[in-house]
């Protein structure tokens, strides 16, 4: 018999096939992927540094340096230094020609997210000025800020949900597998307390009373994650209770596997599918939470951009409708995408529909 016998499609294979058939989930996945790419390549898409420039006879690709977050190139090139003194230098080339600049290719949105331009204050969207989504009350380009802010939303979604999933699976697994007092006195009580406390309340309280020194996107992610675990824990607990009596778990026990091995290698992988659905909805929830608290002004602090704090600016200038429309659309579409993916996953994993 040949070694290349085709393996029967497992639950993941089947799920993937069914997921591919779900139009909504695919649209969601494509959007999220595009968004992730846009967020990663934001320095090339929206920047006041040139993609390529011949300055004083020397060719340099300044914008690409921003792609590396840890500043591999610590020494600044002449172009960066010049831009530091005058961020508008390359934008003003037409009116103020610079003989040393030969060729210069600017990114599609030639503004950095922090670049405040006095004559662009509250500028409405227009193609001519290359402010696609308009400017805020400091003359910063909204499109540029949104592209750079996309990173926050995506990271929050994944990291906060990662923290929530870790705590939730750990506690829920412990409670469900061990049962007894661990479950009834500790895990179930903790879940109950957290569930009847609206997460938004707690996050708002923690973030608002925290020392602003420590308030950055990373701590916000951790806080959102630490309040988001009860749903995860409840699911994990139910799954572990269901699966610990399953034949395969009993068989593993008969073979002499210890409890940790049974829980981690046998039960957890089998409980993974419903958890994944939960994760997808949780990512949507985390994005929404971050946007909400940034919108209230206690989340990501300006000048760092986030969709929530760009949207907040419209509440100070109701005439700048563009600051309300575009960031909100971005939040809506990414939340919708993750909800669609979650919905698709749930349908794909529904055992009643599985063939």
């Amino acid at each position: 018999m040949s070694e290349k016998r085709r393996r029967p499609a497992g639950i993941w294979g089947k799920t993937l096939r069914r997921l591919r058939a779900s139009k909504g989930a695919m649209v969601g996945l494509v959007f999220v992927t595009l968004l992730a790419a846009a967020a990663y390549f934001a320095p090339l898409l929206a920047n006041n540094k040139p993609l390529a420039i011949r300055y004083g006879g020397e060719l340099s690709f300044t914008a690409f340096r921003d792609l590396f977050p840890f500043h591999l190139f610590l020494e600044k090139d002449a172009v960066s230094l010049r831009l530091q003194q005058n961020p508008d230098w390359l934008l003003d080339l037409e009116t103020l020609p610079d003989p040393k600049v030969d060729t210069c290719i600017l990114p599609p949105i030639p503004y950095s997210p922090f670049q405040a331009r006095l004559y662009d204050v509250n500028a409405p969207p227009s193609l001519g000025s290359r402010h696609l989504f308009g400017c805020d009350d400091r003359g910063r380009d909204a499109a540029s800020r949104m592209l750079h802010g996309a990173k926050v939303s995506l990271l929050v979604g994944f990291l906060a949900m990662g923290v929530a999933a870790f705590v939730g699976v750990l506690l829920g697994g412990l409670g469900g597998y061990l049962g007894g007092w661990v479950d009834s006195a500790v895990v179930s009580r903790l879940i109950e307390v957290m569930m009847c406390f609206p997460a938004f309340f707690l996050i708002l309280t923690v973030v608002a009373v925290m020392d602003p020194k420590y308030l950055n996107i990373w701590t916000i992610m951790v806080i959102i994650g630490l309040t988001g675990w009860p749903g995860m824990a409840r699911y994990t607990r139910a799954e572990f209770i269901r699966l610990k009596e399953a034949d395969f778990a009993v068989a593993a026990k008969a073979l002499g596997a210890n409890r940790l091995r049974i829980a981690a290698r046998h039960i957890l992988p089998n409980a993974m599918a419903p958890l994944l659905v939960n994760v997808s909805f949780g990512v949507a929830g985390a994005i929404l939470l971050e946007a909400s608290i940034s919108f209230l002004g206690v989340g990501v602090q300006p000048p760092d951009p986030s969709w929530g704090n760009i949207l907040q600016q419209v509440t100070l200038h109701w005439d700048s409708w563009w600051l309300g429309v575009f960031p909100g659309t971005a939040i809506f579409l990414s939340v919708l995408s993750y909800n669609l993916i979650g919905e698709g996953l749930r349908d794909a994993l529904d055992p009643r529909l599985l063939r």
């Binding site: 708002l204 309280t205 009373v209 946007a291 909400s292 949207l311 419209v314 509440t315 429309v325 809506f332």
Partner: protein, 353 residues
Amino acid sequence: MFAYAARRLLIMIPTLVLITLVVFLVVKLAPGNPFSVDQASSSGAAGKMDPVDYEALLQRYGLDRPWYVQYWRWLSSAATGSFGDSFSERRPVTEVFFGAPLKAYGGEGGFFAKTGDAFGRFLGSKLGATLLLNLLALFFMVIIAVPIGFRAAVKQGGWFDRVSGVVLYMLYSLPNFWVAVLLIILVGVQWKLLPFTGMHSDGYEAMGAAAKFADLLRHALLPAICLAYGSLAFIARFTRSSLLEVIRQDYVRTARAKGLPERTVLYRHALRNALIPLLTLAGILVPTLVSGSIIIEQIFAWPGLGQLYIKAIATRDYPVIMANAFLGAVVVLVTTLLTDLSYALADPRVRYE
């Protein structure tokens, strides 16, 4: 069922203690207290308080004691129904929440006492404002959502079902603060149709009762819509799937078989049974409304509990924060309990012992 309810009420006590303890710790462990925050906001040397006065203030309000002593003091006075005085409002928290007691007006002063308007007095309190908003939202939800779900289920697969399905799904993913922003831009700023800040217009006090009511409604309309639409989508989808399940039941077929008119079958037999699972939704909706209120009240400058809470956090107004957390937790816990109990009332098959 009585014993069951009593037991559930007893379990609530340790849960409440735990919740308030968590909030207490979070707020206490954070840097700053009501007096230091006050100093930080007033700029320059003029805002600095004499250290002796500062210590005296801390001592007066018991803030110099260790946290467990402070928590115990709060807990034991809360158990007797006293939640302390708000630092920033300088009056009892219960008065801020529920409105001043009638005797405070003493008959000689105060607008509402003169008109004897107890309802108006309650509306002037923070809880009253929030309740008004939430009840209006709840009203919108049920009035609109159930018919939509009903229609979609009865004509399953029809154009209405498909269109409403997509629209409701979209609504469900729309962030409510964004909807608030868009509504304000369109309805409030561009078209100038409705007011979008606060609860009253200028000159509210001088209006007649009907004009007052209309004014209040105009102010509440936009925030209530923002609070309602998300849960509305949820309820409509829920009604639809619940009704679809009921329609396939034997008793519905029996009702049709014995020749009852379709209207009677749908309204009397199907819809009534389909609405029972909606009770579970109350348990989900109330926490959503509570947290939704915070952000919506902030945007619309609605003087309710949510806005009070944000202000209380910023000024470290401990009694208000604690009372708010306590009230929120009680509301959520009681709703969950009532939901479970109403199940038994609505469905004779459910028994608690």
